[in-house]
């Protein structure tokens, strides 16, 4: 029974990581922007969700508000700041790094420094009894959400017109422009979508990981590990990487506790040695 729980645990944590990393990977895949503000989108999104839950008591409203607000914020940042440095990686990274610090201080100022936790939505409170053990319903819900988001993103990329345009833009932005695709608008949309995914992760992770100053930086590291393993820019890679990290982290901590500090980083190092582009990365 412990094995089942360890696997469930790993998958649930992996799904959280996937939500975190998907946006980062999506943005890098199309725009080649290493978006360090991703951590802020996660944290501020989570905090907005927290405030909405406190005001209205509705988790669904919190999700919608956080996702909408952060998508808008992402669009503004892309349109007015990042666009000035198109394909210029160092200035772009510096701009996003600057925003990371600004939002970190703003969040501390607005929401204070005490760690805060969203409540688990009423529907998913409690836990599933499993013999002598028990497993929280909310984590099962997280697994389901992760699967739905993964499927949705896949469907969007492979089966919609926007997705086709996106792939065209990734493969060759110049030709895509020549074909009449509005790549600039596409960039703004994708950046907003990536930001929205981070906000979604922030609200969904709120009841498990809690929100506190510094969470933005911690989460960023997790997201990087996942995309490095999966391959930058690949959604399939982000999913595979996230699940791998989630499960290895759980088993590592449970069975090799003395290595708990780097259960997440060992797989990354191994993958980097064997396959520098990541599991699904393209070179």
């Amino acid at each position: 029974m412990t094995w089942v729980i360890h696997i469930l645990n790993g998958v649930a944590f992996g799904m959280l990581l996937f939500l975190l990393a998907a946006g980062l990977s999506l943005i890098y895949g199309l725009m080649k922007i290493l978006n360090l503000t991703h951590g802020s989108f996660y944290l501020v999104g989570g905090y907005i969700g927290l405030s909405v839950v406190q005001l209205t008591g509705s988790f669904v409203l919190a999700l919608i508000a956080a996702v909408a607000a952060i998508a808008f914020l992402g669009a503004v940042i892309e349109r007015f700041f990042l666009r000035r440095f198109h394909l210029d990686e160092l200035p772009q990274t510096l701009v996003t790094f600057g925003f990371l610090f600004i939002f970190s201080d703003l969040a501390l100022w607005i929401w204070g420094g005490d760690p805060q936790m969203l409540n688990v939505p009423r529907l998913f409170q409690g836990s599933l009894p499993m013999g002598y053990y028990a497993y929280p319903y909310y984590r099962l819900f997280l697994i389901a959400v992760g699967l739905v988001v993964a499927l949705g993103l896949w469907w969007f990329q492979e089966r919609t017109k926007l997705g086709t345009m996106l792939r065209a833009g990734v493969d060759d932005a110049e030709i895509a422009r020549a074909l009449g695709i509005n790549v600039s608008l596409l960039f703004t949309l994708i950046f907003a979508a990536g930001a929205a995914l981070a906000a979604l992760a922030g609200v969904l992770a709120g009841p498990v990981l809690s929100l506190y100053p510094g969470a933005d930086f911690e989460v960023l590291i997790f997201a990087f590990v996942v995309v490095v393993i999966g391959g930058l820019g690949s959604l399939r890679g982000a999913l595979a990487g996230a699940l791998l990290v989630g499960i290895l982290d759980d088993f590592g901590k449970a069975f090799f506790p003395q290595f708990a500090l780097f259960t997440v980083f060992v797989p990354m190092a191994v993958i980097l040695v064997l396959r520098p582009t990541g599991l699904f990365g393209r070179q």
């Binding site: 420094g113 028990a134 929280p136 449970a254």
Partner: protein
């Protein structure tokens, strides 16, 4: 230019600029002299009316900002209570933000002492900062009253860190852990699992717990060490040895908040009772967020806002007015630190020129505080009451209700100073030996 009209410094004496120089020099000297004279005179003239400056070092930004804010509120509450006066003189508080960094803390301490001329330093939240500021206080012979969270045991125990200019009125790790062990044993726990945040403070605390628990006759059967900042405690909770009588936990900060929720979600709350050493899970700001998840959890600390003493009830009412929240241990710590400083100044009738006398006056303090009766031992470490609390619903809100207390706990309790000195291993050699009582109690 010939060599004969050149001064030894290689400057031509006949040039127009240089002819003015002696005059300028004279004028400069006169101004400096006058300034020195003025300063000296005014120094004597206004000395009696000069405020006594108190330097406050707290983390007001960075990781420990909330802790710093609470401590500052406590300090200010006491200074306000005495009208910012002691020994007949005004007190002037100078607050510096250490940004939660040890090196910044020392820079700010130096600024407070050298350019502001403070008579005493107080505050200090993290143990890292405390170690750094303690060294500065010792080297510069500046009185230091540690009134923040910094609880690292070695600071006040006989050893290399001893500083004759320092007292600590706030707390230390061992006392809280020992009270937890005493109570757990009395409650009938014999086999305990420990979970400790994997850093010096966590290892030290759980080591102290295990040592006391072993001395009483109990045993730690499993010791888990999640890294600081563990996102998910799932693996640890799944692995927990369910044959234990209870779980002793030290997990401060966001880790404690997460663990409290996850412990309950994994269905453990009703199966394995928790002793929360230092109240990381049941921290006052956590309780309203966690709802039922913390109900029934036991914790060990030297304070709870639920104490029914006149000192505490007045304190809590005023604190709530200022912060719109219940105090945790930090507000009372600041309040007690300020009380100690004011009492010491009063005892000396405002003459702080002899630092050793000031320290002696600090070490002699004795008063009732929101935390309970306070006094200091010969090493300058606070002797105070340890409380065992349990989260219960009071007026529909979860609160840390005191259910037992250990009065006058000194830093060695329940051991003696000689016992502690005689142990062969300290916490640094014991992280992987918490389950081995023979190791923990081995003598030199």
């Amino acid at each position: 230019m010939t060599s004969k009209d050149t001064t030894p410094f290689g400057v031509t004496a006949a040039s127009p600029e240089n002819r003015k120089l002696p005059l300028r020099r004279w004028r400069g000297a006169a101004i400096v002299g006058a300034a020195v004279l003025l300063l000296g005179v005014s120094g004597i003239a206004v000395r009696a009316a000069d405020p006594i400056k108190i330097g406050i070092l707290l983390s007001l930004s960075g990781n420990f900002a909330p802790n710093g804010q609470q401590t500052l509120t406590g300090l200010k509450m006491y200074f306000d209570k005495v009208g910012n006066k002691a020994g007949g003189r005004d007190l002037q508080l100078i607050v510096e933000d250490t940004q939660s960094k040890p090196d910044t803390a020392v820079t700010k301490a130096r600024k407070l002492v050298q350019s502001d001329g403070v008579a005493v330093l107080t505050g200090v939240v993290s143990s890292g900062e405390a170690l750094a500021v303690n060294a500065y206080s010792r080297d510069s012979k500046t009185p230091l009253v540690l009134s923040g969270d910094a609880g690292v045991d070695e600071l006040t125990m006989p050893g290399p860190l001893q500083n004759p200019y320092m007292v600590r009125t706030s707390q230390n790790g061992r006392s809280v852990a020992s009270a937890a062990a005493e109570w757990a044993y009395k409650k009938g726990w014999r086999k305990v699992v420990t979970i400790g945040s994997d850093y010096a403070g966590g290892i030290d605390t759980n080591f102290s717990f295990a040592q006391t628990f072993c001395k009483l006759g109990g045993k730690v059967i499993q010791a888990e060490w999640p890294p600081v900042g563990s996102a998910d405690f799932g693996p640890y909770l799944t692995n927990l040895d369910r044959s234990a009588d209870g779980v002793a936990i030290f997990e401060p900060g966001a880790d404690g908040l997460r663990l409290a929720r996850q412990y309950s979600e994994f269905g453990l709350k009703d199966k394995l009772p928790v002793m929360d050493i230092y109240a990381g899970l049941t921290f006052e700001s956590n309780l309203p967020q966690l709802g039922d998840a913390t109900l029934g959890i036991y914790s060990s600390l030297f304070y709870t806002p639920m104490l029914k003493t006149p000192e505490n009830e007045a304190f809590v009412a005023e604190f709530r007015k200022r912060m719109h929240a219940s105090p945790n241990n930090e507000g009372p710590n600041g309040y007690v630190g300020a009380h100690a400083i004011v009492d010491a100044i009063n005892a000396l009738h405002d003459d702080l020129s002899d630092k050793m006398k000031f320290i002696a006056a600090l070490r002699a303090i004795k008063f009732d505080s929101p935390k309970g009766p306070i006094s200091l031992d010969k090493y300058g470490q606070v002797i105070q009451t340890m409380y065992i609390r349990q989260v219960q619903m009071v007026d529909g809100k979860p609160e840390n209700v005191p259910i037992a207390s250990y009065p006058n706990v000194d830093q060695f309790w329940p051991f003696t100073e000689a016992d502690i000195e005689s142990f062969k291993y300290g916490y640094k050699d014991s992280k992987n030996a918490l389950t081995d009582c023979a190791h923990l109690l081995a003598k030199k």
